[in-house]
């Protein structure tokens, strides 16, 4: 079990417990602790050990002790059974389909949520158990030895045996978490926000009603904050559907529009009503249904098409109605039986067409006779063969007006965008011809690639009813383009700075990917019931019929043990093979069973760490998106002028080959994680390659940058995870090259990334848009830092105390192997200290040695590095003109020189990965938000980086405190850390840099 990942949850869990149990001490402890810590911080800043500041840091930042022994202990009981239904589902369903790291993660998030639930229950039910745990914890605080922990767990396990299954399960979790909690208790309690306590208890279950394609209703309970994907997976599992990427859930919004449920977002936020009513529908109509692997999938597609045809959504001629109807009859009823008049009665109950009449029914019957001998599956296939040829097959129509306000219909389909006026097709824009899709308010725009003869690209605009419809259309376009045209989904584009546009991207698998996935399905043809006929389907080759209950038991109950058995071979049961297909879809398949096992183990490891990771609080949706972000593609789009180094250090997580893993001095746990990462990065390979081929688009996209004042927090949330109506515009560049090879080897990938990086470097100066000129470099230049963790993202708090208005420049790591462009805060109102910031060029140079030193220390596994640099005299160039300040020709000698004393103290978390061969990440997006108050300026810099297929969000918060009087630095620091922790409870603080510049008053002059 990985304590690193688990800490947050544990903290919360603990908080919860303490709330429930007044007898627990830590609440009361907290306050004193806090003050004590501040004191320590003050006193110990210069100490090598940095004991004081370490209290502010999550325990995982410190060097972890090996906790491998805890894993088995945890695993065993769970594998025995005791896995709740929900866990099973999560274990079972997602892996089936998922070939993606992202999905895996999603799954994990779900699990996490689950585990929370469980924990909650635990809190309620098992006071005595908790007490036990607490004692254990206390002991742990004292000893903190993994061996001891294990021993304790064992002793605990004895009483557990007497408990009920559920309790036992909970206990298992509790015990395994206990050691971490013990450490946590003292160290991180400070960061517990009261908010969390409240949030935790609010979790509720909601009943969802999903109308399935056969008209039946599926009801299930989900947690209120659950994401769309969770419900979708539940439904798919209920249907026993594996080729699920063609499907989706819809809901009716407040304006009576049918909307697709975004799998990556919380359901609650999307539906915005208490009506948890959904329907399961085909989202992407496969252009060639015969390529679907399973009859079940075809059957569901048939059901959807029957409905489409019957309601007139899919128009067809009389003859076609009759023919399709006859195949329906054949599939549902089997061969026509002349002696039974049943079909006729039956038929009039069925709706085959919007304008069904006797004549049509007779025709249907007549044709039905001709299908004698056809199996249901064959009849379905024939149905689809005919339906797919219909011109409106798979076309999603949207009402719109053209530029002349003429009513038209826009149809989105696999091939592109169709324009209809009445029933006539008057234009068509194939995906390859579309360069950009965007919407702004109720306008929908497509930018068209210039034809051979034309020189300029043109933009076609359409007006939709309102901005909601425009956005809906835009989303459908983005999704259809991604699904049908790309080989791998494009990550959300977060490149643009502070545009409030939607960052929505298709997150699922593309058709290409899903085809690969389905080609790997090797389960026996699932048996399913065709609703009306109650006939049991046979697959085309006449597979034997198995009773339905058997199947469901077999399929649904798959690999509950997988999750928890990392080392017991017994976990490899036949069913696991499906997991392998889905999870590791894109990896090579000639792995030995052992390797597969290892992968599974590591996956479960990762899962578990997720379970224990921070709870799905509001920021959590980001986790999901974060992962999807991972494509350097955005790099090209985001033309970063000011070269900034932000991405330093090591990230052993990315180690691709297993060998280097061994020497890593960190615990085994981490090594296992690394394996996971390796897999993850493999699976996401296509993404990376995509990036490579993105045609460079050096155009700066700065659209209506918004003035952001205070609430950077809410701001960020809004843009990242909300469906907010305020997203009135967004754009999408669909011309991502689709020539992606699925068979890249990791080495190549690395090279490519490097190449890409180089390119980026080279491109950077060229792409420099004029707008960045007025951006003070200091804003962009961020502190080079820090640790990477696979699971967690972290936050950097840079607290700077500054007496003159001088910019607190942090170090820049010169030895950084990669130069990453970062998004400049374009269009942002310049912060107060902006002019000063520009002055930093000089100071920076002076401060360089300091910087390098700091960076160096980061390489070491010390818990805390505290460097007190020599007092550096920096030149203060006071120039009010920002533009002028940029110019290098400025003669510093001519301006007044102010000498300041600079002091930089760096506290940082232990690097989980200390070796230098780390693969540098690729910056995905960067975002800077500035807020100001009287004497402090807070600059929040959010960067998303791609590292070996995983993306990571890092928030750097720079707080500049300006004041003439003495400032209690330590208090300020403590306060800053505390705030940061509260604001981003899902993140951890990895590094704290205090940079103090004191003007040496009139010393020189």
């Amino acid at each position: 079990m990985t304590t690193e990942a688990g800490t947050e949850t544990e903290v919360k869990e603990k908080a919860e417990e303490s709330a429930a149990q007044p007898d627990q001490i830590d609440q009361s402890e907290k306050a004193p602790e806090e003050t004590k810590e501040v004191v320590i911080a003050e006193g110990d800043k210069k100490e090598k050990e940095g004991k004081g500041i370490s209290r502010y840091l999550p325990s995982w930042l410190k060097k972890q002790k090996s906790q491998t022994q805890t894993s088995p202990t945890k695993d065993d009981p769970t594998s025995d059974e005791a896995v709740g239904n929900e866990t099973e589902q999560k274990e079972g369903a997602p892996p089936e389909v998922n070939g993606h790291a992202e999905e895996e993660e999603e799954e994990k998030e779900e699990e996490k949520e689950n585990s929370e639930q469980v924990n909650q229950k635990e809190a309620e039910l098992k006071a005595d158990v908790k007490e036990e745990t607490e004692t254990v914890r206390e002991e742990k605080v004292e000893e903190e030895k993994s061996e001891d922990k294990c021993a304790k767990e064992e002793t605990k396990a004895v009483p557990e045996g007497e408990k009920t299954e559920e309790q036992q399960k909970e206990l298992v979790k509790e015990t395994s978490e206990a050691p971490a909690e013990g450490e946590k208790e003292t160290q991180t309690s400070l960061f517990q926000s009261p908010l969390k306590l409240v949030r935790k208890n609010k979790m509720k279950l909601v009943v969802c009603h999903v109308t399935l394609l056969d008209g039946t209703d599926y009801t299930c309970e989900v947690e209120k904050r659950v994401k769309g994907q969770y419900l979708f997976f539940k439904v798919c599992e209920h249907l026993n559907l594996m080729e699920k990427d063609y499907f989706g859930l819809t809901y009716i919004d407040n304006h009576n529009n049918k909307c697709w449920l975004d799998p990556t977002k919380e359901i609650k936020r999307q539906i915005r009503s208490n009506n948890w009513q959904f329907s399961f529908n085909v989202k992407f109509y496969p252009p060639d249904p015969s390529l679907l692997t399973e009859d079940l999938t075809r059957y569901l597609l048939c059901l959807q098409l029957r409905e489409d045809v019957a309601c007139g959504k899919l128009p067809c001629s009389f003859v076609t109605h009759a023919l399709l109807g006859s195949y329906t009859l054949q599939a549902e009823l089997g061969d026509y039986e002349p002696d039974q008049p049943k079909p006729l009665d039956y038929m009039s109950q069925l709706t085959f067409a919007p304008n069904q009449n006797k004549e049509m029914e007779e025709k249907i019957l007549e044709l039905h006779k001709s299908h004698r001998g056809m199996t249901p599956a064959q009849a379905d296939a024939q149905f689809l063969e005919n339906a797919k040829k219909l011109s409106m097959y798979g076309v999603d129509l949207h009402h719109a007006k053209d530029s002349e306000a003429v009513d038209i219909m826009l149809g989105v389909c696999a091939n592109g965008l169709l324009v209809y006026k009445d029933k006539l097709r008057i234009n068509r824009f194939a995906w390859p011809k579309i360069l950009k899709i965007s919407y702004k308010r109720n306008n929908f725009y497509i930018k068209i690639r210039p034809g051979e003869a034309e020189q300029f690209e043109s933009t076609v605009g359409f007006k939709l009813q309102n901005h909601r419809s425009a956005k809906r259309l835009w989303k459908v376009c983005v999704e259809n383009h991604s699904f049908f045209r790309l080989n791998a989904p494009e990550p959300p584009n977060k490149a643009r700075f502070l545009t409030l546009g939607s960052k929505f991207r298709y997150s699922g698998r593309t058709q290409a990917q899903t085809r690969v996935a389905s080609s790997l399905i090797d389960r026996p043809a699932p048996n399913f019931e065709r609703t009306s006929s109650k006939r049991i389907s046979r697959s085309l080759d006449g597979a034997p019929v198995i009773s339905i209950t058997d199947t469901s038991a077999g399929e649904n109950g798959r690999e509950p043990h997988l999750e928890l058995n990392s080392d017991s071979k017994s976990s490899v049961h036949g069913d696991n093979i499906y997991v392998r297909h889905s999870n590791l879809m894109l990896e090579d398949h000639d792995k030995t069973q052992d390797e597969v096992l290892k992968h599974q183990a590591s996956i479960s490891q990762l899962k578990r760490s997720f379970m224990e990771a921070p709870p799905p609080s509001p920021p959590q949706p980001n986790l999901w998106e974060k992962r999807i972000t991972s494509s350097p593609a955005t790099i090209r789009v985001q033309p970063q002028p000011v070269v900034t180094v932000s991405q330093t250090e090591t990230s052993p997580v990315e180690i691709v080959t297993p060998e280097p893993k061994e020497p890593v001095k960190t615990a085994e746990v981490e090594i296992e994680e690394t394996v996971v990462v390796q897999e993850v990065s493999k699976t996401t390979k296509p993404v990376i390659v995509t990036v490579e081929k993105v045609p460079s688009e050096p155009v700066v996209k700065i659209e209506e940058a918004m003035t952001v004042t205070e609430e950077e927090k809410s701001c960020k949330r809004e843009s990242v995870s909300s469906e907010s109506e305020s997203e009135e515009e967004a754009e999408y560049h669909p011309n991502v090259s689709i020539s992606i090879s699925h068979t890249q080897i990791p080495e190549e990938k690395e090279e490519e990334i490097e190449e890409q990086e180089k390119q980026v470097k080279n491109d950077t100066p060229a792409d420099l848009p004029p707008i960045t000129q007025d951006t003070p470099p200091a804003e962009v230049q961020e502190v080079a830092e820090e640790t990477k963790d696979v699971v967690e993202s972290k936050e950097e708090v840079v607290v700077v105390e500054e007496k003159p208005a001088a910019e607190p420049e942090m170090e820049e790591s010169t030895d950084d192997p990669m130069v990453t462009p970062e998004e400049a805060p374009n269009g942002l109102p310049l912060p107060d200290d902006a002019p000063d910031a520009t002055l930093e060029e000089e100071p920076k140079m002076n401060g360089q040695p300091v910087t390098v030193e700091t960076v160096e220390t980061e390489r070491h596994p010390q818990v805390i590095c505290c460097t007190e640099p020599p007092v550096v005299k920096t030149e203060m160039v006071t120039i009010s003109d920002t533009f002028a300040a940029q110019k290098t020709e400025i003669a510093t000698k001519e301006v007044p020189i102010v000498h300041t004393e600079t002091k930089t103290i760096t506290y940082e978390a232990a690097q989980l990965e200390g070796n230098g061969d780390a693969e540098p990440g690729v910056l995905m997006t960067a975002q800077t938000i500035t807020s100001e108050s009287l004497c402090t300026t807070t600059t929040t810099h959010i960067t998303k980086t791609l590292k070996g297929g995983l993306s990571e969000t890092r928030i750097e918060k720079r707080i500049v405190i300006t004041g003439d009087c003495d400032i209690d630095h330590d208090e300020a620091l403590a306060q800053a850390i505390k705030e940061a922790k509260e604001q981003h409870p899902d993140m951890s603080v990895t590094r704290v840099v205090v940079h103090k510049e004191t003007e040496l008053a009139d010393e020189e002059d």
Partner: protein, 294 residues
């Protein structure tokens, strides 16, 4: 789709004889100046050429030929393609631009009903289609979709009615330039081949068609507009027949037709009809009555 199959399979051809009044139609203000001299039309030659065409259809290609006798009161009734659009089992009786031509459909309707086709009227009674005009020579059916040339004789409303009738198919409208008809500048030359004129107007139409279609068609470009109209039929033994204008009428285009591999080329003269703005395909309706499902 029961009725979506590669273009070119036909079993029957319906034609209507050249009447005595050939070329005596009331002046059509939309027709080009070259055709309005009545004297230039040779009735006998026109009838001979008509005979050659029907002969080719029946004897060379092997279609069942149904010939509706000419009606002297309907001087343009030989342009039978205009009055009906047939696809699969459905025949849409059109509303030609000229009022006096709308009675031409009566005889055709009877024949089609006898052949078992579902005859759909464009229905003047429907208020909506009151202004709709549609002529078959503005309709190109490729086997996969319809292109309707919005021309002097066919308007958008007419195209909408067509789209409503043949719902299985995409119906796209394309502009036809220069007073011509869609079928004057292009026609099917194979299951996936469209023969296209090389004229500027035709190129424009072609570009539009390429823009609108989901499919890929081979384009056979012919230098003369006269050659752009052909009749392609996939015969009984799966032989490809192409009835096209002879060398005398389109000397430059002969080489282009030679490029068609394994085709049986049937050069058929059509000079008299073309003087009236018609072309080979104007003279016949092609029907496929050997449907696998009916």
């Amino acid at each position: 789709m029961a009725n979506i199959c590669p273009y070119g399979r036909f079993t029957h051809a319906v034609v209507r004889g050249i009447p005595e009044s050939f070329g005596k139609a009331p002046h059509d203000e939309h027709q080009n100046g070259e055709q309005n001299g009545d004297a230039s039309v040779d009735l006998a030659k026109a009838q001979r050429q008509f005979g050659c065409l029907t002969g080719a259809l029946r004897q060379k290609v092997g279609l069942q030929l149904i010939e509706i006798p000419p009606d002297p009161d309907l001087p343009e009734s030989w342009r039978i393609e205009d009055v009906v659009v047939i696809q699969g089992d459905t025949a849409l009786i059109t509303r030609p631009y000229k009022q006096q031509r709308r009675t031409e459909a009566e005889a055709v309707r009877r024949v089609l009903s006898e052949l078992g086709l579902t005859v759909v009227e464009m229905g003047e009674e429907e208020g909506g289609s009151g202004g709709a005009t549609l002529e078959g020579s503005d309709v190109l059916f490729t086997g996969r979709e319809f292109f309707v040339g919005v021309s002097s004789h066919t308007n958008r409303r007419g195209a909408e009615v067509l789209a409503d009738t043949f719902r299985d198919f995409a119906v796209s409208t394309v502009p036809v330039c220069g007073g011509a008809r869609l079928k004057n500048i292009c026609s099917m030359g194979g299951p996936d081949t469209i023969v296209f004129s090389n004229s500027e107007g035709a190129k424009k139409t072609l570009r539009m068609m390429e823009q609108l279609t989901d499919h890929h068609y081979e384009i056979l470009t012919v230098p003369e507009e006269a050659a752009a109209n052909c009749i392609y039929i996939k015969g009984a033994s799966k032989r490809d027949f192409l009835i096209h204008r002879p060398t005398e009428e389109a000397p430059e285009s002969t080489a282009a037709f030679q490029k068609l591999q394994d085709y049986t080329l049937l050069p058929t003269a059509c000079s008299e009809a073309s003087k009236l703005g018609a072309c080979l395909s104007s003279l016949c309706l092609l029907i496929n009555r050997k449907h696998s499902f009916f």
